[in-house]
Subunit: 126 residues, 2 copies
DNA sequence: TATTATATTGCAACTTAGTTGCATAAACAA
DNA sequence: TTGTTTATGCAACTAAGTTGCAATATAATA
């Protein structure tokens, strides 16, 4: 089951995602909210928000978990077929509005796909 | 610098990749070769083989590192634009010969791209 | 072949992202 | 306000991957 009670911790976490349009990693959240709540709480709330399809998660370049607000996810069945872009300079991660065409693979059933692009973001690419 | 000496450990590791056409995770190698060599040695040799473009690496579904023999990598500049497929049932990982078309992203420079597909593989998809 | 310089290995200890169990505290319905 | 259930904090744990260093194997040179 997902989120059942709107606690202070849930509100604080959601605030962070409302503040920025970029994705946020669990590590960054733990750092940012270290005075407000425990890391265990953060991991648990993130899990639930994902279950509730409020957030979607994916892995960044080091295999660390990132989260972003779901927009078109609920409509398309939470497929997250959009690519994620991580800047190799500043580390920032964004969801790209583009859709990547995943080719049909013979004899296999593709359920989910993750596309991670790396390079220079708008600010670091001068 | 990459591999300089053809040691017993290097040969044993390369043997594993010659035996199977699938990708192999560092964890699996550590398990398989536990009697032959130390995990530190395995991580170090994998690093060097990747530097030498003999292997390429990518992250599986849990953020764990996987390695596969390079085939067209050297030609295309080690871009690894091919997708990797991980079976959600048996866990096996393969390089797919297909190429995924990565769309141009305005105002950004894309250097590398990773595509991980998950679903049922040929054997588990009945 | 013996010697020597250098690369490689094993080991133990460490780092760190994420998880688990349990006692306590906060939500919320009645 | 009371009682039931959910959420939280804490400490301890798990596991992938890393680091420093002493010992060993490789390969070039004499």
């Amino acid at each position: 089951m997902g989120i059942l009670r709107k606690t202070k911790s849930v509100r604080l976490l959601l605030d962070e995602f409302d503040k920025s349009s970029s994705a946020i990693s669990a590590i960054i959240l733990i750092e940012r909210l270290s005075l407000e709540m425990n890391k265990t709480t953060i991991y648990r709330i993130l899990d639930k928000l994902e279950e509730d399809k409020v957030l979607h998660s994916f892995l960044g370049k080091n295999g660390h978990k990132w989260y972003a607000k779901c927009k078109e996810c609920s409509a398309s069945g939470h497929q997250d077929a959009h690519p994620h872009f991580q800047c190799s300079d500043c580390g920032k991660v964004d969801c790209l509005p583009t859709n990547v065409l995943i080719p049909k693979i013979p004899n296999r059933k593709v359920d989910t796909s993750q596309v991670l692009l790396q390079g220079k973001c708008e600010e670091c690419f001068v």
